[in-house]
């Protein structure tokens, strides 16, 4: 088990050197969400500033983590070198863990950059419950990474991009992010609760400003954990068998 983590770290470290500056990571993972972060932070958004700041964080984390995971698997599938990786004496979960570590790191980078921007624009980052904020950042990054991992392992690289973008953009609009709760018709609201982004965002909201939109923070924390374990289970049971390198 310990050796497994060491090997996962080894893969992760090599991935970093290879992929951290790749164009899709920079454009989709950093530039795009930071644009939104800026837009929200400078008040072009329709809602009050402090409402939009957690959203900025969520979007930054969502796009940063999903982009690196996508690239770190899709590029390897496209070049075919993933075959070599799977051939080596590693277990599939070690490969998966390495990719998720990348998503986690990028989630933190995304949040860090968003935080920097908001700090600079001095909108008073509360950080009332720093641990809850950190929880959301960590579990959120992992959940987003796992979703990406499933998509990109399951599908060929090109359709994977399309599906990933559908998922990400659906979350932007229906996942409790860009469209604030009061503007979402009540009939659609239950649908919103299906997306993990709602809980990540609510926890950011709570961590920063001690408030939430949809569900109380402890329920959010539990739901995110359920997401996490379900995704790990699905990934473990299905993904590795249907792998199409």
């Amino acid at each position: 088990m310990r050796d497994g983590f060491v090997r996962a770290w080894y893969i992760f470290y090599y991935d970093l050197k290879k992929y951290y500056l790749k164009a899709p990571v920079l454009s989709w993972g950093i530039l795009f969400p930071l644009t939104i972060v800026l837009v929200l932070g400078t008040g072009f958004g329709a809602y009050t500033y402090s409402r939009m700041i957690p959203v900025g964080f969520t979007i930054a984390v969502l796009f940063a983590s999903t982009s690196i995971v996508h690239v770190a698997v899709a590029f390897e599938k496209m070049s075919g070198s993933i075959n070599q990786l799977l051939f080596l004496p590693v277990k599939s979960w070690e490969v998966a863990l390495a990719k998720i570590l990348g998503g986690l790191l990028y989630g933190f980078i995304g949040a860090g950059l968003a935080g920097g921007i908001y700090y600079y624009l001095s909108h008073g980052l509360g950080f009332i419950h720093p641990l809850i904020y950190l929880y959301s950042l960590t579990i959120g990054s992992i959940v987003f990474s796992l979703i990406t991992l499933l998509i990109v392992f399951w599908l060929d690289p090109v359709p994977a991009v399309a599906v990933l973008n559908i998922v990400r953009f659906t979350m932007l609009f229906l996942g409790g992010l860009l469209i604030p709760k009061p503007m979402i018709p009540p009939i659609i609201r239950p649908l919103v609760l299906f997306f993990p982004s709602v809980y990540v965002n609510d926890l950011f909201n709570y961590g920063l400003y001690n408030r939430y939109d949809y569900v109380d923070p402890y329920t959010s924390m539990i739901i995110l954990l359920i997401y996490l374990f379900t995704l790990v289970f699905v990934a473990y049971r299905i993904m590795l068998r249907i792998l199409k390198p």
Binding site: R7, N83, F87, P89
Partner: protein, 300 residues
Amino acid sequence: MIVIENVDKYFGKFKALDNVSFEVRNGEIVGYVGLNGAGKTTTIRIAVGVLYPDKGDVLINGYSITREKRKASYHVGWVPELPIFEPDAKALDYFVYLAGYYGIPAGEARRMGRELFEKVGIGEAADKKLKQYSQGMKKRFALAVSMINNPDNFLFDEVLNGLDPEGIAFFRKLALEFKREGRAVLFSSHILSEVENLADRVVFIHKGRIIAVHTMEEIKSMAKPALRIKTDRVDEGLVKILGEYGEVRVKDDAVYLINPSIDSSSLIEKLSQKGYRVEEINRVRPSLEEVFFKIIGEQK
């Protein structure tokens, strides 16, 4: 020792492998032959753990590739049909990186890499990027990589493709060396003359099913002796006369008399009596190719 047990593999609804079973013993070279799309590469990819079987399993030195992947992987070397590695990595750096997975420290891996590169004939290109490698160089690099952990089982998928004559000779020597050292070698190839030269046994696959497994001796005895005859003309009359002495096959500009019940000099005499001038007649060596077409032909 490689044991492939009742392996099924589907791609969607298409059944690419149907209950494939065979083994490669220690100190044995087994050739794997079949038409394009028969399922050779799929079998090999499953056996090295890159693809998951829908049914069945593969044992490498007794370790299951599906359930004990890591242990099994330690004992197997693989040259893929199309060796693809990190295109932007330098060959030796990439080799060192791969060796890391086997717990070999970087310094030692670098030394070992240089040695193996020298052995497979890419010593000069150790610091080149892999995308600058030619097809044959990639095969040679893949050979070096397959030997990283000094495994006792090897699976070579069309390893001869893209190798120059010197490379082919090198591979032949290497395979025999592995055999002497008691390792198990499976190799797929379309170059049947090489399979014939090298293999102790041949496994025939057709449309995802193993249709025959024969030792080289069996193949030699199955391939019936034949006379290859060239005459001034080939017509029905000729075929009819020859038909009295064995099975006749016309191929290219020659006629083959398979399993002849007459010796060449009597045949020349008989033919000239009927007005055919024999320009050339010789015994042909029984070949794997002939057996291959016979076995595959029976399936069609």
